[in-house]
Amino acid sequence: MADRAVDRTISDLPLKTVYEPSDVADLDVKRDLGEPGEFPYTRGIHPHMYRDRLWTMRQFAGFGNARQTNERYHFLLAQGQMGLSVAFDMPTLMGYDSDAPQALGEVGKCGVAIDSVKDMETLFAGIDMGAITTSMTINGPAAIALAQYIVAAENSGIPRAELGGTLQADIFKEYIAQKEWIFPPRPHVRIIVDMMKFCTAEMPKWNTISISGYHIREAGSTAVQELAFTLADGFAYVEAAMAAGMDIDTFAPRLSFFFNAHIDFFEEICKFRAARRIYAHRMRDQYGARDPRSWQLRFHTQTAGASATAQQPENNIVRVAYEALSAVLGGTQSLHTNSMDEVLALPTEKSVEIALRTQQVLAYETNVTNVVDPLGGAYFIEALTSEMERQALEYFRQIEAFGGVIEAIEAGFFQREIADASYRYQRSLETKERIVVGVNAFERDETQDDLNLLKIGRDVELGQARDVQAVRATRDAAAVEDALAGLKRVCRSGENVMPALIDACRAFATEGEIVDAMAEVFGRYVERASF
């Protein structure tokens, strides 16, 4: 009987007992794999990969207020971390100031609260913004966060052209999975294209969009859905920028991707390899990109939060290590390893350190970095890579049948596919068809007493509310009004919004005020509830 867990990956892809040459009979090594660093980059985007340069170890961090998170950044940099990655709190991600009624109970909980340029300056105090790279996980208000970052850097004497980093700015996956949107899809896409144009002209070291499958997977998708939906989103941004008159080779080299490293080891490796091959072909053959850098899919990876368990949380250290290994064998450019306690709360300093050490052991002790794409050519790996590619292309056809990504979002297609997959998976745990150690097998009675969890108190919310009110009380009110009026004007006229956003941030307009001004023009998105 075929219906057994050993016959399917965690995403329900079929598996054979053993793979043989006949499983890769269609594979043309030169056409489908190439050499590492050569089209279609199945084996990696660099000829020598980690022999020349390790991946960037970048731990996502943010909690409480800007001062607390700044301390954590100094700690992480001192431990050998190579770049910063900002986690914002929910009100910041949704465009509300810390004293807004909607922010009640959420300030500083899931990340750091940033209301104005003042907070952004505190966040990077004592850190050379010209020397580090910063990744900012923010989408709805991404352009505002970038404007705040630019102004904070300029106030410390660093011109925007020297700033290196990545803005997530992937609004499609918000509607699909993460659900932190502000405006309806079309105005959001216009803002993103404005931001791409601005960065292309003025910030040569800045990566404009990090097209993210991570949250799609966390919302319960399969690996194939993560692969297909993420790439479809990426292609939709490419098409939007081209439709706005941009030459693909001016912006494509600075697009990057962000994937999940889940627990099904080989499936993940194949997902990364398939992603590179699909992307290279489409960028060159369909969109006509001529610069090889436009064909190369670069990506960041984070281990799967959804694979971590609240039960016996120390076991998560082991899961993270396997997941990190799959990301490295899949050729990632940077990596975040989750901390064991993140399923319960924000991670403590101790657990973050173990997560970072996990990467360092992988990089410096295991020697998996010495050979490029060591699994390339294995019958199983190549067969599964091709199967995932085939299934992703089938999803592209379905999305195109809706008319494109926005239309498929509006029809609830992605949301339904993910909810179905997530429920199927949950049921397979209920029936013990799939085993999760400590959850539905090998359980033991336990208390959480021995874990020292990091909790964010109400004092953070009250303090942050006082701070933002102080900013409003001490700035030049007329300058703020002018800046916000100017912003609304460009939102209406169709001029690039970035300069007006920078002006508003310089005048100490708060994030909530800026979003309210833009929402007057663009409106706010409301999702139809379904399950």
Binding site: M90, P91, L93, M94, Y96, Q102, A103, L104, G105, E106, K109, C110, E174, Q178, K179, E180, E218, A219, G220, A306, T309, A310, Q311, V343, L344, A345, L346, A419, S422, Y423, Q426, R427, L429, E430, T431, V436, G438, V439, N440, T447, Q448, L453, K455, I456, E527, R528, A529, S530, F531
Partner: protein, 157 residues
């Protein structure tokens, strides 16, 4: 409706499936605050529906007032609130307060999410009937809702 195999053997479940005399339990599954993590809420909503209950999913970003109003308007037996953003110590107590203020304290109020054990204990002390954390079996949640909603029906008819 096809009965999910993993729910076999549950005490009173089949009773409701075929019982035409009593209307099925009605449960509001809610998301509050700014928390967009809706995977858990949707899975619970489907599990309760598959167990024969009527489920109203509020969608995202509801206030405690909106959630309680929906439950009263829908004559719901229970409210299940899912929070993964860390705002649980603020939002759960507000729903309890609203239920009491509206004279709807009989509605079975339970929840789940990333909630540390000591917070869960405190929330139960404050009047939340049960807190389910990641890894809780769906069958346990379904059994809890059926038991507590059944008791409520006996009390309020």
């Amino acid at each position: 409706m096809r009965w999910p195999k993993y729910l076999d053997g549950m005490s009173n479940a089949r009773h409701f499936e075929g019982d035409g005399l009593r209307r099925p339990f009605r449960i509001v599954v809610a998301k509050a605050g700014l928390d967009g993590h809706d995977r858990g809420a949707k899975v619970i909503a489907r599990a309760l529906r598959d167990a024969g209950m009527e489920v109203i999913y509020t969608g995202l970003f509801q206030t405690p007032e909106q959630i309680v109003r929906t439950a009263i308007q829908e004559d719901a037996d229970g409210i299940g609130l899912s929070i993964l953003s860390g705002a649980h110590m603020t939002l759960f107590p507000l729903v309890v307060q609203q239920l009491e203020a509206q004279g709807a304290g009989d509605i079975v109020f339970f929840g789940g999410g990333t909630i540390p054990a000591d917070d869960a204990a405190e929330l139960k002390r404050l009047g939340v009937r049960e807190i389910f954390t990641p890894g809780a079996p769906l069958a346990d949640i379904v059994a809890f809702v059926q038991r507590e909603a059944g008791k409520r029906r006996e009390r309020v008819g």
